[in-house]
Structure formats: structure tokens, C-alpha cells
Symmetry: C2
Subunit: 333 residues, 2 copies
């Protein structure tokens, strides 16, 4: 639709399907920028998606996630898989942590055409990240990568939320970070289909794994031996000793098989699609709201009533929303 | 508007204005729940607001913010001020940190009618927090509290964003947390009108303060001696030694005086009002989007096209948005 010259020429989608790595990289940039060229290519590619297994990884900063991902790439490559990684950089301007070293380590895979690592920066003030990460995953999926690993730092709702938009979510915990069990809030274990204790060479790893198993028993569904209930395993990995990664991949396979056998796969895929559409609708509507704020002195003038303390911000917002979304229901067309 | 029985009886606003603490507590609960009773009371109270100075405090978890707030309450009480504190609990389900001890410490002020501390929990998946915190601030403002302190843990965009919705924002940094300077990303210093190094009794405090002053010089506006430019001071406080808090309050007063003298106060108040309305409009529109997702099998049926890979989530979302917000412009009524 937009005039973009040569990069927009027909064939980007085709080249991605043919395994053209540069075309894929370009497509990802278009997608990240919400560029119509990328969206049009994705239209063509979308029927080729739905094959890849999407693995989410989240956990606290410094939890060894990037190292774990690197070990997983190595193990998947040994099994003959093509692996894509979407690494979401922390969005917090205050905390965050050094991911640069981790990224540099990932350069190890630079020359392997069957490994594609893409870093995405969290954007300021919500909107854009979750749905763009999933759109990038669709592109990887169409390009034949399987699995696709979505790695996020679990410092904010957004990041954790994104990691849970996967078919299998790994919750990473690391020993020796103080009372890590105590910082795990109620319910947070639930997002993990598999709980991974990294740096298992550390002496505290066994204690942490034991505590996590105990906590899981206390907080999650009662342990029943029934195939319809997934009992999240607690696994230990050590990059130093090169241990545990194969068992982790086996556990992921087992979870995938469980999803398929129980019909949970279709349910999960539907949930992810609903979440992707919802976040996208929300982001689009946020842009509408943002645009209003710049209109004629702020929301077409209502700001002055608020400044003069004649109308609360809440009333002003309600008036604006009823103008922006008159019906509020798509079924009342 | 809604039928609520006795709590909704006319007079809640009046009682708040008269200093009735229980009425204020009840109002805050209504506001937090987006209850119409609270919103109607706020309509009546809103013309009585605009007097309080709103102070935002943010910084990393474990940075001694709650202790600092406690010291500030003590100092403001010594100056005869009534102080309200809005403490936003961390929203991350994975990290967070123990705020319970801090809250318990604040019980010290339980019997002082001129101190009101309100904890607000971050909610899951955006929306609600920023605007509700500001609405709570309006209630405190009408009830005669001045200053109002808005304390958030700087782990996520939301929390940092909320703290910056203040007239004076304190950015807290703590010595001895490793390379804390390095975790400060570019631009994050800008949100602080005053930079506070807590736990100044620690040996690393002087180094941290020096580094922060250097970083500020490198990243912020060049230091010019002109009244129109606010040069964010770097201050040190120590709760152990009971030092630095009075100087901090003086710096806040100085910043307030600067805001008034330069006309920045009106600009800042307008920015805060725009931000409050914008986040509220966004939250309302998010609710609209969320509601759509539950309609007739998900967004009135479009989800099936996405599941069948006939339509990308992006196209589905665009179609939905154009139905929800047909014009997308409030000025085209």
C-alpha cells in the first residue's frame, strides 16, 4: 500500500519461504516497525505458519536465561532442528542488567544458517511488544524454524506475560540469589510448564529445587496421576557442567506430546491468538487515545476544564471514550 | 447513581472535606474500585484540589525508599505538614521484594491523624494503576494533605511512569548494589528532579554520589547558571545517622519555588492532567477491547479465521478497531 521502492517488491514472502536469510531479517525489521510491507508479506506467509513449537522462557534478571538458551540452541542443533530465538531486552529504565555479554556470546551462532537470534527492545509505555514478538514468531514459523524460543526477563508484567504466550513456558529460577523462594509470589509458579533451576553446579541448587517442588505441591493443583493434568517438572541445568539440557529438551517434547494428546494444544493456540489480537487491539486503541491528547490543546479542549478543576480527569476520559468508541461493542454494527 | 445504601449517602465528600478519616478511607476504596460512588464524590471534591505538592519517588527495589519516606514523614510532621503517602506495591509476579517490613514500620504513624499511608497493589496487565493513583492523590489533596508522596518501585515502565507524574520526582539510588551506575540506562536520570543517594552511611555512598554527578553532567542539559534551567541536585541521606532529610525537604521546596517562578508549574500540571486523562482513556479502551475478546467465540467470530490461518491477528485487530472506533478522532463528532 505504501510506496517503498525496491524493498517492497513482490517476492519478500516467497524469498522468506525459500530460506533467504537476508529477506527474513528485512521482514523482521518491517514487522517490528509495523510497516505495511511487512504486514502484507505476513498476510502471504501466515498460511505457512502453525508448525513451530513456541517456547517461552522467563525468570529474574541474572538467572542465567541467555546461557540456558545458548545450551538449548546447541542441543537442538545436535538434534537437527533449526532454532529461532526472540530475546526481549528489559524495558525498565532503572533496573535491567547487562545483557550485552549474553548477546555477544550468542554471536557463536552467527554463521549457522539454522540459528537465528533476534533481539527486540521493550518499548516505552506499553503497546507493541507482545504482538510484535508474536508476529516475529509467525515469520520464523513460516521460514521453517522449529522451535522458536521467546526469552524475556521477568521484571515486569509485560515480559512475564509475553513468555506465557507460548505453547511451553519455562520458568527459570537460580540458586544463590537470597530468598528467591520468598520473592516468588503466589501464582507465579503457575505460568511455568517446566521449572528450570539453572546454575545447578552451585551448592544451593538442590535446596532450591527441593523448595520449588514443595512450593509447587502446595500451590498448584494436587498431584494426581491422570494424563489430563500436567505436572510441571522441576529440572536442574548446569552450563558449566554441560548437564541437564537434553533432559530439558525431552521434557519440552513430553509437554508438547501432552498438549497434543489431551487436546490442550488447540485450546492453547486459541488462547495465544486471542491474546495476540487483544493486545493488538489495545495497542491500536492506545494510539487512538494518544492521538486525541494532541488535538486542539489536548483532547479537543476538555483538558482546560480539567485544569480549571471543573471536571475530573475521569469524567473527561469517559466523555472522550464515548466519542471514540460510540458503541463499545463490535456486535452492534 | 448506583444504589449502594448507606455508604453512598450524600455527605461522603463533605465528611472528607471536614477531615473525617474514616470517610476518606472509604472514599479511597471506592476510587480504587472505580466505583461510581467514589467518582461522584470526587466530582464534588475536585474543585477543592490543586493545593498539595505531589512528590514522586522511584528507584530500584531494596533502595531504601520506604525508609526514606518514613524519614520524610517525620521531617514534614516536624514542620507542621499533613502528609499522605501512596505506596505502589511492585507488580511483578517474579521479582518484587519484601515490602511487608517497610509497611509494618509505617505503622508508626497509625495514630497520627496528619499522616495517611495508603498501599495500592499494581494490577495484572496494565490499566488502572496510574490513573487510580492520581485519583487517590486528588482525594488526599481535597482532604488537605500536603505534600502527597507517591512511592513506586522502579522495576517496570509503569511504576517509573507513575512516579514521574508528580510535580517533583525523586530518583533514589543506593550504594553497594554492584555497578548501579551501569544499570542506569541513558535517559533515566532525566526523570529525577532530585537524585537521592540513600544509605549514605555506607562507604560507597560518596563514590556513588560523585559518579551520579558526573553522569548527570554528561547526560543532562549542560550546566548553565540560569534560573530557567533546573539543575537536579544529588543529595545524600542516611536514616541510620538521621542525616540529610531536612536538606532534601529544602531541595523539594526549592524545586517547587523554581516551578512557580518559571511558570513550569502550570506546564507540569497540564502534562500530568493530560497523562492522567490519556491513561484513563487507554484503560477504558482496553476494557472495550477485552470485552470484545469474549464476544461470540472471540471477537464476534474473527478468531476462527485467525485460527484457520486465513487472516493474520494484525488484520483481525485492524478490522475490530475500525468497528470499535469508527472515526478514531474526537473532533469528528
Amino acid at each position: 500500500v505504501t510506496a517503498h521502492g525496491s524493498p517492497a517488491r513482490p517476492g519478500l514472502a516467497t524469498r522468506v519461504l525459500e530460506g533467504d536469510r537476508r529477506a527474513l531479517a528485512r521482514l523482521l525489521t518491517y514487522i517490528e516497525n509495523d510497516d505495511e510491507v511487512g504486514l502484507a508479506s505476513l498476510d502471504k506467509l501466515y498460511s505457512h505458519t502453525g508448525n513451530a513449537h513456541l517456547i517461552g522462557i522467563t525468570g529474574p534478571p541474572g538467572g542465567g536465561k541467555s546461557t540456558l538458551v545458548n545450551e538449548m540452541i546447541r542441543a537442538y542443533r545436535a538434534r537437527g532442528n533449526s532454532v529461532a530465538v526472540i530475546a526481549i531486552d528489559p524495558s525498565s529504565p532503572l533496573t535491567g542488567g547487562a545483557t550485552l555479554g549474553d548477546r555477544i556470546r550468542m554471536l557463536e551462532w552467527y554463521d549457522d544458517p539454522h540459528v537465528f537470534i533476534r533481539s527486540m527492545a521493550s518499548r516505552r509505555f506499553g503497546g507493541g511488544l507482545a504482538q510484535n514478538a508474536l508476529a516475529v514468531a509467525h515469520a520464523f514459523d513460516a521460514a521453517g524454524f522449529d522451535p522458536i524460543i521467546l526469552e524475556t526477563v521477568g521484571t515486569g508484567q509485560d515480559e512475564v506475560g509475553i513468555a506465557s504466550l507460548a505453547l511451553t513456558t519455562l520458568l527459570v529460577q537460580v540458586p544463590g540469589m537470597g530468598d528467591s523462594i520468598q520473592t516468588l509470589k503466589a501464582g507465579s509458579l503457575e505460568i511455568g510448564d517446566i521449572i528450570v533451576v539453572t546454575k545447578a553446579d552451585r551448592p544451593e541448587a538442590n535446596d532450591l529445587a527441593r523448595d520449588l517442588r514443595r512450593l509447587r505441591t502446595l500451590t498448584l493443583e494436587p498431584v494426581v496421576e491422570h494424563e489430563s493434568v500436567w505436572q510441571a517438572p522441576v529440572l536442574k541445568t548446569s552450563a558449566v557442567r554441560q548437564e541437564g539440557t537434553d533432559a530439558l529438551l525431552d521434557a519440552i517434547d513430553k509437554h508438547r506430546a501432552w498438549l497434543e494428546a489431551t487436546g490442550s494444544l488447540a485450546t492453547r493456540q486459541r488462547e495465544i491468538a486471542v491474546a495476540e489480537i487483544t493486545t493488538r487491539v489495545q495497542a491500536d486503541l492506545q494510539r487512538v487515545a494518544q492521538r486525541q491528547s494532541t488535538l486542539a490543546g489536548g483532547f479537543g479542549g476538555v483538558i482546560d476544564g480539567v485544569i480549571a478543576r471543573q471536571m475530573t480527569p475521569h469524567r473527561a476520559a469517559s466523555a472522550l471514550v464515548s466519542r471514540i468508541a460510540p458503541s463499545g461493542d463490535v456486535d452492534k454494527e
